[in-house]
């Protein structure tokens, strides 16, 4: 399984922004890396491990990184031109331009990010993840993707009952 260079670069930059990774380490991590290149998944998981290894509880840190990655996507990437409001992000993420555009490999390897239920009027959705990435990171991605997408006052993402099922509330 491989991940897109832009995905790795985004992870590194988010970690630097959050003071979880030194600039020099970031430079070392992304040396020679191209946004449109493809790299082994282990590079991504290894970088995540490096970023979170010094924290006794990596969960809040991973969530923060996921949120920051989405902020970069909206402010420095193509996010604004793709998503015009928070709930729309959920549909985008489960489509071919979302998670699927950042990974490549067999279905078994990459898994997916699926919008299982969506009720715009009630402000509820259910996202299901089968990816090999940390769920806390994905929780941050969902929260950041919806919150920063605009048009909502509140976003709640709860996967405490089942780590792979994200109950989303947006108002």
């Amino acid at each position: 399984m491989q991940v897109a260079g832009v995905f790795l670069l985004s992870l590194g930059q988010a970690s630097v922004n959050l003071k979880m990774l030194a600039s020099a380490s970031f430079d070392e991590l992304v040396r020679g890396m191209k946004p449109d290149g493809w790299y082994e998944k282990e590079l991504f998981t290894g970088a995540l491990e490096k970023v979170t290894s010094r924290f006794s509880d990596p969960e809040p840190m991973l969530e923060r990184v996921g949120y920051e990655m989405m902020r970069l996507w909206y402010e420095q990437g193509p996010g604004r031109s793709i998503v015009s409001n928070g709930p729309q992000f959920l549909r985008f993420q489960s489509g071919s331009e979302g998670y699927r555009s950042l990974v490549r490999g067999t279905e078994e390897e990459t898994g997916g990010f699926f919008l299982s239920e969506m009720d715009d009027a009630a402000g509820r959705a259910l996202m299901v993840s089968t990816t090999p990435f940390p769920r806390a990171l994905e929780r941050g991605v969902l929260r950041g993707g919806i919150q920063l997408g605009g048009g909502v006052d509140f976003v709640g993402v709860d996967n405490s009952a089942d780590a792979s099922r994200f109950a989303v509330i947006f108002r």
Binding site: M20, S56, P60, R64, D153, R171
Partner: protein
């Protein structure tokens, strides 16, 4: 009043109110802020813990570094002390000095005779003890301003005085001449170097090699017991003599300490 205005920092007037949908929006905005504060609290707690651990690690590394620096300081101080002590021996000896040359009499009893040999930094004279009649040699350092040569000269003297073995030449007296040249009086070794012997007569008989090898091994073992490693054992530094024990180990000028190996 609108919820957006309230959260943009606009101060509400005394009769301001949030009604209907605006009240609902304000509720969710407050709840979002509260939950964000909780997440930030968790995030900063982790950052603070990690910083604390990093600080502890830095302190541990600093302590290790200080220990190493202290060790280096102690080693350096010892080295300077040793070198200074050796050089002082010569500096303090100036009062009784005289020039070392053929015909001179050193210490009232050592008659300096003809030169025996000359190297890059030292010259060796034959000498005779006018009281006891023994055959001696005087080695004079010609370039005392050459620090490396001086240290080598001193190391050789010190090694000779520390190693107690018949195959290691002992210094008998150390002094400085009136023209400031350090010299050492030692027994004279008659014979020729193993290097010269091999060039002259070819390989030695196995029995001789065995005998000389045993002497050499015992001499080096004695040096090791005295805490010294010769570091320059070669045919040119082994003198074959007719006098017992048949072999002399010369030139301890490059000797090092055993504990440094």
């Amino acid at each position: 009043m609108k919820a957006d205005a309230l959260f943009a920092g606009e101060e509400p007037t005394a009769d301001a109110s949030l009604d209907g949908r605006e009240l609902t929006r304000a509720y969710w905005r407050v709840r979002a802020l509260r939950e964000e504060l909780e997440r930030k609290e968790q995030y900063w707690k982790q950052i603070c813990d990690a910083l604390g651990n990093a600080y502890d690690e830095l302190e541990r590394m600093r302590a290790q570094l200080e220990q190493r620096v202290d060790g280096l300081h102690r080693h350096l101080a010892t080295k300077v002390d040793e070198d200074s002590t050796r050089l002082l021996v010569f500096a303090n000896a100036q009062a009784t000095a005289m020039r070392v040359a053929p015909g001179a009499v050193l210490n009232g009893r050592t008659h300096v005779l003809e030169p025996l040999g000359q190297g890059g930094s030292a010259v060796v004279y034959a000498a005779r003890d006018v009281v006891l009649g023994g055959s001696l040699a005087v080695k004079v350092l010609r370039r005392p301003d050459d620090r490396a040569a001086t240290l080598r000269f001193l190391a050789e003297i010190q090694a000779g005085s520390r190693v107690s073995h018949p195959a290691v030449v002992q210094p008998l007296h150390v002094d400085v001449s009136e023209d400031g040249l350090p010299w050492v009086l030692m027994e004279r070794v008659e014979g020729r170097s193993l290097h010269a012997q091999l060039r002259l007569a070819g390989a030695l008989a196995p029995r001789v090699v065995s005998s000389l090898g045993a002497v050499l091994a015992r001499a080096l073992a004695a040096a090791h017991e005295a805490g010294l490693v010769h570091r320059d054992v070669k045919p040119g530094n082994l003198m074959i003599s007719t006098a017992a024990p048949g072999l002399r180990v010369l030139d301890f000028g490059l000797a090092g300490r055993v504990d440094a190996w």
